[in-house]
Structures are given as C-alpha cells and as structure tokens.
Amino acid sequence: MIGESRVWIRPWLRRAAWSGALASLLLSAPIRGDVDAGAILDRWLASQRTLTSWSADFVQTRHLKALTQPLTAPGRLWFAAPDRFRWELGSPVQSIAVRADADLLVLAPQLKRAERYPLAALARGPLKDAMALLDTGFPREAAEFHRRFDLIGVAETNAFYVFNLRPTSPAVRRVLPRLSIRVATNDFGLAGTELIFADGSRMDNEFTRGVRNPRIDEALFSPRLDPAWIVTEPLGRK
C-alpha cells in the first residue's frame, strides 16, 4: 500500500529547503555563544528591531565541485519586516524568489514559469524544520537564534564580524552543514554570507549598496503574472 511512495520524486522538498535556507540565512543575523558574542548579539538584535526594510545589490559566487572555475552572478535583494523578501539573480534577471504573505514564489522570468509553494503546506511536511526558516525572515530574539543555530565561532576582520554557524536542525544540516554571516562592525549591516553545502560546494554573497529602511514598492512582493506565465504548484494542485 505504500508502493507509490517509492516512485515519488520530491524535487520541491529539496528545492524548498534550498530556497528557504538561502533566503532565511541571508537575511538573518548570527549570535555569539560567549560573553562577547552575547554582547554583540544584543547590539545586533537591537539594531534589527528597528529594521523595517532593507535593500542591497549583491554578487553571488558559486564554487561548484563540477566546475573548475567559480561562477558569478549579480543580483538584488529587498526585505520588508517581518518576513517578506524578494531575491533576484542574474543580469538580465534569470531567477526570482519572492515571499509574500502565504506563498513562496520561485519565478523564471526568461521562461515565464512560476512555482508556487504555500508556506503552510511546506511547514507541515517532513522538512518542517527547514521550512521554519522561511517563516521568520529576520529573527530578532536571541532564544530563537539559539534554537536554530549553534555558534561555532566569531571572527573579527577589518570592519566585519564573521559569525561561523551550524544549523541545529539535522534536516537543514544534511543540506547545509555550515554557514557564516558577515556584518559590519559599525552598523551591523549585512555585508556577506557564505554557505557551505554537503557536497563541498560553496556559495558566497557579497552585499553592496545596502540601504536600511528604504521605502519598498509593495508590488515587488506581489508580482503580477500575466496569462503567459505557466504557474505550477508542485505540492499537488494545478
């Protein structure tokens, strides 16, 4: 009676895990485990509480095991508290990830294809821990960070704090065993992230032109998809 489970392919699960981890971790701030880290965390959290929106350009570098040279792509990111974001990658834009109130949309503008993931359904599934990352966006409580990450160490280089982290969730850890987040020491602005994947691949994001609390067009979080778009819901409904 379970035979069909054997032939299921759950691409959406891993895809969602990737997207969720990527988006959340990029937009989240780390904490420190020792006394200094605690103080830094408090200051950073304090600054996060006043953060209502944020936008930045970035360059993403992917060090893939299958390629001899890294791949880079420019992109842009918008965030609106408490948990909405828009992530654009490529020039011209090749991929967009948008989190609205109830859905996560993954768009391929060149192909006019869109995938819609209801967040509630994602949170009920087997990867709910990974999906939980999507629900918070910018966490502001220390306890919440401790629940999600183990702080491996903090490094201070030039004008940045680098938080080396490990996800507490085994499920997330299977995909993403380690990550680091780099913030500016003066204003705790997000400067970069590094995600290290289970197969040894690495993804770096270098943020530039970051703007704190800009006014963001609401339409960015509610993309209008004309009839030419092919929208699918990988969770089952068409």
Binding site: I2, S5, S95, P126
Partner: protein, 1103 residues
C-alpha cells in the same frame, strides 16, 4: 416382505455389517479432515471477476511491496536512525532462511554504476525523435553553446535539484522525455527509504517464503521482531533508543488473522460458557450439558470434514459458520431436551416424533436460506452458506438421533410442572403488539432508516499497530489521501505498454477534468522493443563521439566528475548496451529491484504493470469515469467496498425473491396452513422492523460486513417461528407449556447467541464488531417477537374453531380429500406398474421426510418382531412400500379400475361359506392387515351387501368421498360415533342375516378396551363383543392380504361364544382379547402389511 425372526448368527452378522458401514462412512469424513486447509486470503471471499477485486488481488499478490514487511525506524537523530536501519538490514540479510532480502537504502546508492546502465537502457526505450534531439544537442555545432547555457543556469538557478542535476549532467542525459521516476536511479531515495530529514527510515524486508499462509506469516513476523530486538539491544545509545514499528502486507496479515482467530476462539469459548451457565440454571444437570457439547462438537467435526471434502481449503472468515452453526444447532438439542424434560415418561423415539417435524423443517428452511447465499455473488459468503447449510442438516440429525437417545436414558434433573392453560383472549392481547409497532414507527419516523456505509473502513481493525505504523509512514512521506492502483495486464510487454499509453491519455484528460490530482505510470521504464531497435543506430553513432563530447565539456570548465554520467552512457551504447539482456530490463540489481516494484509476470505468462493515481478530493470513486482502456484494473481499498456493495446490490432483488419463495415453500411444508405461514412472515417482518428501529435510535448504520447479519438473522428467525408455532400446536396453545418446553429452550438459544455475538462486539475488527452487535440485537428482537407476540397472534388467528371439513394439522397430506380425489383420478388413467413404482419412490421420500412416522412404525413393529430392532426397521421399511402399493390399489378400486378377480378366496374360505349357509348375521372382524376393503367385491359376487363400520376420516369431505365410492361398489358405510342410535340399525341388520365388517385394532376412545396382544397391552374395540352379545351373530375373523401375486381373502374359524357370557363389560373385553389374539399368527406372518402409523402400544411409565 414377511416378518420373520432371524437367527442370532444373522443378527450378529448384521451388527458387523453395520459397523463396517459406519467405518466406510467415516472414511470420507477422515479424508475430508485430512484434506482440510485454512487460509486467510481475504480475496478468496470476494468475487474474482469483479475488476476492483481482480486488480487489487493482482497488485497484492504480484508486486513486491505488498509482500514485504516494512520495519520503520524513527529517531530525532538521523544518524541514529541510519545506523539502526543499516544494522537491522545487515542482521536480517545474514539469516537467509528467514529473509530473502532486506533493504534500508536505495539500491543505486549501493551500486551507483547501475544508474548509468539504466539510463543508457532508458534512452533506447524512448521515441526515436527524442534520441534525435539529444544527438542534436551534442552535435559539434551546438555542443559549446549548450554547455555555456548550462553554466548560466548553474550560476543563476534557484532550483537546487536543477543545479545538482546540471552539475553532474551538463549534457542533459537525465532529461528523459518520458519520465522514468526513480528509474534512472539518480536520486537519493527520499520518500521511499527515508523522509526528507532522515529522522524516519524504512527497512524493506522480503520473506524467504513469499507464499506464506496466515499462521506462517504471524510466525515469520514474530521471528523478524526477535531479530530486530536483538539487533537494537546490541546498538550503542542513542542508536538503541530508536523507536521501531512494523507494517506492510505480512504485518497486516499476521495481525488481522491472528486477531480474528483469537476473536473467534474467545467467541466460541464465551458461547460455550454461556450455554453451560444457562443450561445449568435451567436444568441443573451437567450430564446432558456434556452430551450437548459433545453433540455440538460432533456436528462441527462432521461439517468441517465435509467442508474439507467439498472445498479443501476453508477461509478463516468462512469459519464464522462455526459460530452460526453452534448457535442454531444448539437450538435443536435444547428443544429436544426440553421436550424430554417436559415429558420424561416418553421414550426417545416418541419425543423425536414430537419434535422432529419442527427441527427438520426449520433445519431445511434455514439450510435452504443459507444455500441461497451462494447466489449473492460473494464466494466467501457462499462458502459460509454451504458450510452452515450442511452443518444445520447434520446438526439436526445428530441432535435427534445421537444426543436425544443419550440424554433420554436418565430422567431429567427437574420434574416438569403441571400443565396450565391460560386464557389470554381479548383486546389486552394486542397491547404488546401495538406497543412494539408504535415504538418501531416512532423510531423510524423520527430517525429514519439506518444508512449504508460504503467505504471499506469496516474492513480495518479498530486498534492496530501495523495500521498506526502505516499512518505514520504516510505522514512522514507526505501522503495525504489513499491512492488508486492501476494494474495493466497484457500478453506481452508491448501490449502492456500500449495500454499504458492509452491510460496515460485518459488520465491526462481526467487531470484536466479535475478528477485526478496526479498519476505516476512506469511508462518511462517500460520496455519498448520497437523503439530500442530503431534507436540502436543513432545511439551507436553518438557513442563514437564520446571523446569529443568529453573534451568539449572540459574546455567549457566542467570537471571530469561532471562528465562521468555522459561518458558512461555513451560507453554503454558503444559497448554493446543494445545487445539483448536476459529479460526486457537490464540485469543489474538496481534495475531488478526497481522492476519488482512495478512489473510482474503471472504464472500463466501474462505481464503486469503497476501505476498509481492520486485522485482529486472531488473524485466520486467511480473508476469507470476515468475512461481507462480495457485490460486496466483501477482499484484501491477505498473503492473496493463500494464496488462490492454495487456488485451485491445487483443481486439483492432477485436473491431476496428467491429466499422469500423458498421461505414460503418451506413454511408451507412445515405448517400446511397459510395462516401460520402468514404469522411466521409477520413475525419476521416485525423482528426486522424492530431491529431497524433500534439501529436507528442507536445511530448504527449498515456496512459491508454487518449486511451479512440479514441472512443470519433470517435463518434464526424462521427457525424460531417454526419451533414456536409447532410447539403451540403440540401444547394446544398452552402458553405455560410453550414456555416450559419450547420457550425455555429458545431462551437458552437466544441467550447463547446473544452472548456469542455480543462477545465479538468487542473484537478489534470494526466490521466484525458491527456485524455481531447487529446480530445480538437482532436475535433479541427475534426472540422477543417470536415468544412474546407470536403466541398471542397464533391464539387469535389460528386457534379459532375451524370447520371440521378441514384436515387437522399434522395429518398426512395423503389423507386430504383433494389429494385423494386427484390420486383416484390418476389411478383410473395411469397403468398400475407406473403408479406402483411412483408410489414406491414416494414412500422412500416420505420415510426420509417424516422420520417420526417411520420411527413410530418401527416401534409398532417391535413386539411383532420379537423385539429385534433391526428386523423391525426392515419390516417398517417394507411396510411403507406396501402401504404405498395398497394406496394405489385402493385408489384404483374406488375409481372402479380394479380388475374383477383381483381378490381371490384364500385359506379357510369354507368357514365363510358355512357361515353364509347358516343364515345368521355375519360380523366380519379384521385388523388393519392388508387391504380389507377388497373383501366387499368378493361378497358382492355372493350377493351380499356389506355394511362397513369405519371411523371418520381426518377430513369430513374425505369420509363422504369414500362412503360414496363404496356405495357405488355396493357397500354401505356407517361412520362410528356420529349417530349414537346408528348401532341399533347395525344390530337389526345382523339379526336380519346381514353382513357387517368391523376393524378391531383402531378403537375410538369410547369403545377402547385393554387387551393383551403379542404379550403387550393393546387397545382394541369392544364393539365386536357388543354387537355379538346384542345380535347373536356369527363372528368371523377375516383378513385380505397381498400374497402369491394377488389379494387373498383368508378366513379363520368362527369364534364360538355364548351371548349370555358377554353380559358384563369385563367379559366382553376378554372376548375382544380372544378375537385379537386369533390374528397374531397372521399379523406376524404379514407384518409388513399391518398398517399402523400412529403409536399403538400404550406408553410405559418410565421409572
């Protein structure tokens, strides 16, 4: 055949022969028991021709996952779950006698090289246009551009799977146009062997023997349990803290069958205990109870043996017949015993004669009803029906001929109370009926009829570790609703493939219509020999460009790792991948495992494929709406219930009509009056209405299993209505006697049945529990109506004085005026040999149908045969045959068709001639020996007009009919007892020299005197002595018997007497005894023509 005493040696020989006969009869039973097997295959209970059943049966029997045990492991730590799964798998694989295979991870993870071979094979099964497109992508002109596009995708894609795939397959070898699911063997097996985060894992365990019966399955699952527990105990913490559960086909089979077996055992035990308790309360005796239990065991044993002979293998669900059979067969025993307890002075054969009609008719009726269940279209129900029917007939025989004689050896523990007759006429009689009817109406109008649950939910256990584990598995793997299985069948893989293609179109349309959410067919991994043949050339051409392709990838920045897949596929195509494999699929372990999940081959060589459809919540469940092509079975456990109900519903109307017709026929045979038949039907209707009302009030509904209660209740209801009404006849509507004799027995039966069924109400199987609850309530309703209301109706509608023109109940139908007239007409037309043969056959049937009459005849013959029972039985059998022959001649005689000269003067005729010459009145006395009526034509030849003194026939119309027939033949008739002054005319006739014929051995109560006959007390009529004393006539003993090929009129010497010596009644009684004893030699010689079918020897009071 004349009755003669047999030599002791011959009697001994008879006993030996009888023992041999018993031994010979026991042989087939022994063979049946040896042949008997049990199985728990639920599909054997269902109609194999039904597509839903056929499809599910094919899926369950042929595809691996239905045969595998699933050991599920859950831990918050994925590493612990992984370690436990790996250890369990290794341990089980090391036990080849127990386990054929145990898998805890995708086989392609253990054999990654298989994926490349499988992918190469898959491409060959694609349409040639697809391979052509791949070739175009790899062409020298497009290769570099395509690789650049892949790099762009790798840089910008947010789809992790796409990134992962393109990293190791930049050339798109895994982009199969016809999806193969996991067939390529390139994913990690999530959703199959583990959930997404690895905290939940499944180990698939394949038994070494995949054709286990339910007991073997239970033992095998227990052995796997032990092995797993040992393994887990040996793991270090936290690995040993992993929670383990078991599910899958063998776990379900073991759990359900052992649970059901336990339920049935406890039910039988409870029933026996309750029967014992109730029996003790009612009778305070263990001995009869012991015999009763032994008789039930004998009945069950014989029935099982016959079941083995008939079917060979019995399904454990069909074994439910045992509970039904015990419940009904115990009725027969209890009714018999109760009759004995109420009449302890009666010998067993008389008790049997009393109760046998009720028991045999109810057994025949109930058995017939159960046999008709075979037409319901459910083989399991048919088997249950046949077993119950056979068991009921055997049970009736065992109770009447084994149990009753055994218990009647000793007097009952409790003396019977004195008879009491209640007067319960009047309007108050109707109050209970009105009350029950009002309750039924109010309940049904207020709550409506109970509904019908169409789902297969009743088939699953209420509490089940295996089901709980399966539910958890569904949750972990994100399954939300029950899938629909598609089984494709065909003579060869090509035929199956075509059906799959057609089904794909139909399912795509169903997706468009919103009936199907998704579907998954193994079309991509299905062999297409035609395509493979066409693709070989193109594949070989691509293979030749292998080095060039790899170089292009490397120059585009891809590492050697990223081209392993493409290189491997091209190598396969170049290295003989297109050469034929042993089967249609690649021979590597990964492919073989995958194939076992969706492909199978039946013993007859047919190919099967398995697909899955996830129905949309809006889907109605009617699989015909999907428009699937022929040869595709769409089914699921969810739709099975509805399909079975629809299948049965088509037969319900005519099955009900058949059962109703059979019931009517059987009830008519049992009662022979439409009023009692109607009362039985009314009791049935009210009982069922009462059951429906209670079900409505309690909020119960019918389901697939509880519907079986209907025939069960029908059988037991008919049984009760027959027992009660026949008991009312026997006891003359004495309600106290009814309660004392039959009522108590029926209460015991009802109590036992309610307890038996009620004990199963707590069983783990929801359907079985509902069935038993309905049965328990139904039995209570039936008992209440039959015992509380039916007697009241009977007294109102049946006991009313009826015109005496009608034949009383219980009297043979042969003695009905209409039948007599018809038989006489037939006798006039048909040749005697034909009629004699028919009558002879009918006598045999009658003997079997009315065993009580036969027993009475045997008892009557015993003193004549010197107490030799065997001789008495043989004589009684001959007696039946002779009587049939006599009837034929009598009908022919009354019809005027008896040939002149058929009756000849026999021995002692000179006595008649001398008496005739004396001129005195002639009183011809005779017993019921031979055919005394035939003396009349002989006398008529002599110019004598005979007056026959006869008792009235059971029907006045028949008395008149026969008197008229005699009159036509010159014989006068005087019906004794009608006119008290008629005897004056008889005396005058004798005094005037006339001839009068009188039967001595069948007196009316007023003329009966006790005499000695064959050394036993006997009742004879004193009328002959009265007439002799009053008229001084010659008393001439005569008898007319069939002998030497015709009828012989034999005369004994006149009986000397002095009328003055017959002054007092005592002297006349002595004279009557003398007359009777004169006939002893003749009766002994012609015992088979001494026709008495009612008890003639007064009952002896038992000590």
């Amino acid at each position: 055949m004349s009755a003669q005493h047999e030599a002791p040696g011959r009697r001994l020989g008879g006993r030996v022969a009888r023992r041999w006969l018993w031994a010979l009869a026991a042989l087939p039973l022994l063979a049946g028991l040896l042949r008997l097997r049990f199985d728990a295959d639920i599909f054997n209970l269902m109609p194999a021709g039904l597509p839903a059943v056929r499809g599910l049966q094919l899926q369950q029997r042929n595809f691996a996952d239905a045969r595998e045990l699933l050991v599920t492991l859950q831990s918050p730590d994925p590493e612990a779950a992984t370690a436990a799964a790996s250890a369990i798998s290794s341990k089980l694989v090391a036990e080849p006698a127990l386990v054929r295979a145990a898998r805890w991870q995708a086989p392609w993870l253990e054999h990654p090289e298989d994926g490349i071979e499988n992918l190469a094979w898959l491409w060959l099964q694609q349409p040639p246009s697809a391979l052509a497109r791949l070739a175009a992508r790899l062409s020298a002109g497009q290769l570099a551009a395509n690789l650049a596009a892949v790099r762009e995708t790798l840089a910008t894609s947010l789809d992790p799977q796409q990134v992962a795939r393109r990293m190791y397959d930049p050339l798109g070898f895994t982009d199969l146009p016809v999806a193969a699911g996991s067939g390529a063997g390139l994913d990690a097996g999530a959703g199959i062997f583990s959930n997404g985060d690895g905290t939940y894992r499944v180990v698939f365990v394949e038994p070494a023997n995949d054709r286990m019966n339910y007991r073997a399955a239970a033992a095998w699952v227990a052995a796997v349990h032990r092995s797993v527990e040992t393994t887990m105990a040996g793991l270090p913490r936290p690995h040993s803290a992993v929670s383990v559960a078991y599910t899958g086909g063998p776990a379900f089979l073991a759990e359900i069958s052992t649970g059901m077996e336990g339920d049935l055992q406890s039910s039988v035990l409870t029933t026996v205990v309750v029967i014992a308790g109730l029996f003790w309360c009612a009778h305070r005796g263990w001995r009869p109870l012991g015999w009763l239990v032994a008789a039930l065991a004998l009945t069950l044993g014989i029935t099982l043996a016959l079941g083995g002979l008939l079917f060979g293998t019995l399904n454990v669900v069909s074994l439910g017949f045992a509970a039904v059979l015990l419940g009904l067969a115990v009725d027969y025993g209890l009714v018999s015993y109760q009759e004995f307890a109420a009449n302890p002075e009666m010998p067993p054969h008389e008790i049997r004669a009393e109760v046998a009609p009720g028991i045999l008719y109810s057994a025949a009726t109930t058995a017939g009803t159960f046999l008709l269940l075979g037409l319901a279209g459910l083989p399991g129900l048919a088997q249950l029906g046949v077993l119950t029917a056979v068991g009921l007939l055997i049970g009736a025989g065992v109770m009447l001929f084994v149990f009753l004689p055994l218990v009647a050896r000793r007097p009952p523990s409790r003396p019977p109370p004195a008879p009491h007759r209640e007067s319960l006429r009047g309007p108050a009689n109707w109050l209970p009926t009105i009350g029950v009817a009002a309750f039924v109406l109010c309940a049904l109008l207020g709550r409506g009829l109970p509904g019908l649950t169409r789902s297969s939910e009743p088939l699953r256990p209420r509490k089940s570790a295996a089901y709980d584990a399966m539910d958890q598995l569904k949750l972990e793997f994100g399954r939300t609703n029950e899938p629909l299985w598609l089984v494709f069948a065909g003579a060869d893989p090509e035929a199956v493939g075509r059906r799959m293609d057609d089904a794909q179109l139909a399912l795509a349309a169903a997706v468009e219509r919103g009936e199907v959410a998704s579907f998954n067919l193994p079309a991509g991994f299905w062999p297409r020999s035609g395509y493979a043949l066409q693709n070989r050339t193109a594949a070989a051409a691509l293979a030749r460009r292998r080095v060039e392709v790899r170089a292009a990838a490397e120059s585009a920045g891809f590492t050697a790792d990223s081209t392993v897949l493409a290189d491997g596929v091209l190598r396969c195509w170049g290295g003989g991948a297109s050469s034929p494999a042993p089967g249609p699929w690649p021979a590597n372990p990964t492919a073989q495992w995958l194939v076992s999940q969706f492909a199978a081959r039946e013993a007859d060589g047919r190919w099967l494929a398995l697909g899955i459809v996830q129905p949309d919540p809006r889907f109605t469940g009617d699989v015909r709406a999907l428009g699937l092509p022929p040869g595709v079975f769409a089914t699921s456990w969810e739709t099975l219930g509805a399909s079975l109900l629809e299948h049965v519903a088509r037969r319900v109307a005519w099955l009900t009509s058949l059962i109703a017709a059979m019931l009517l026929g059987s009830l008519w045979l049992a009662f022979r009056t439409w009023r009692e038949v109607a009362l039985s039907l009314a009791a049935l209707l009210l009982s069922f209405a009462l059951l429906l009302a209670i079900m409505a009030l309690l909020g119960w509904s019918w389901n697939l299993l509880s519907l079986i209660a209907l025939p069960l209740l029908l059988g037991s209801s008919v049984d009760s209505t027959i027992h009660v009404q026949l008991a009312l006849r026997r006891h003359g509507s004495d309600l106290k006697a009814l309660w004392r004799v039959t009522g108590k027995a029926l209460l015991l039966c009802a109590g036992a049945n309610i307890a038996g069924f009620g004990s199963l109400a707590f069983t783990n199987n929801a359907g079985l529990a509902s069935l038993d609850l309905v049965c328990a309530v139904g039995v209570a309703c039936v008992f209440g109506v039959c015992f509380w209301l039916l007697p009241l109706w009977w007294r109102v509608f049946v006991e009313r004085p009826r015109p005496d023109l009608r034949r009383p109940p219980g009297v043979s139908w042969v003695r009905g005026a209409a039948v007599w007239r018809g038989a006489r007409g037939l006798a006039r037309l048909a040749p005697r040999p034909l009629l004699a043969a028919l009558a002879g056959g009918a006598s045999v049937v009658y003997r079997w149908a009315r065993p009580a009459h036969f027993s009475v005849t045997v008892e009557n013959m015993l003193p004549v045969c010197g107490g030799d029972l065997a001789l008495a039985k043989r004589t009684a059998r001959e007696n039946f045959r002779r009587f049939a022959s006599k009837l034929v001649d009598l009908w022919r005689y009354e019809a005027g068709a008896l040939l002149v000269g058929a009756v000849q003067p026999g021995d002692g005729w000179q006595h008649f001639s001398a008496a005739r010459r004396s001129g005195r009145g002639l009183l011809l006395v005779t017993p019921h020996l031979g055919n005394w009526e035939f003396g009349a034509p002989l006398l008529a030849e002599q110019g004598i007009r005979l007056l026959v003194l006869t008792a009235p026939e059971p029907e006045t119309r028949l008395t008149e009919l026969r008197a008229a027939a005699r009159a036509r033949l010159g014989v006068d008739t005087l019906v004794v007892g009608r006119d008290p002054f008629a005897f004056v005319d008889v005396i005058k006739r004798l005094q005037g020299g006339g001839a009068v014929a009188l039967l001595l051995d069948r007196p009316t109560p007023a003329t009966a005197v006790g005499v000695e006959f064959f050394g036993r007390a006997f009742s004879a009529t004193i009328a002959a002595a009265d007439l002799a004393r009053a008229s001084g006539c010659i008393v001439l003993p005569v008898f007319i018997v069939e002998d030497r090929g015709g009828y012989q009129a034999n005369t004994l010497a006149p009986v000397e007497y002095d009328p003055r010596d017959l002054g007092d009644r005592r002297a006349r009684a002595v004279f009557t005894g003398r007359l009777m004893r004169l006939f002893e030699p003749a009766v002994r010689r012609y015992a088979s023509q001494w026709f008495h079918f009612v008890p003639i020897w007064p009952k002896e009071v038992r000590s």
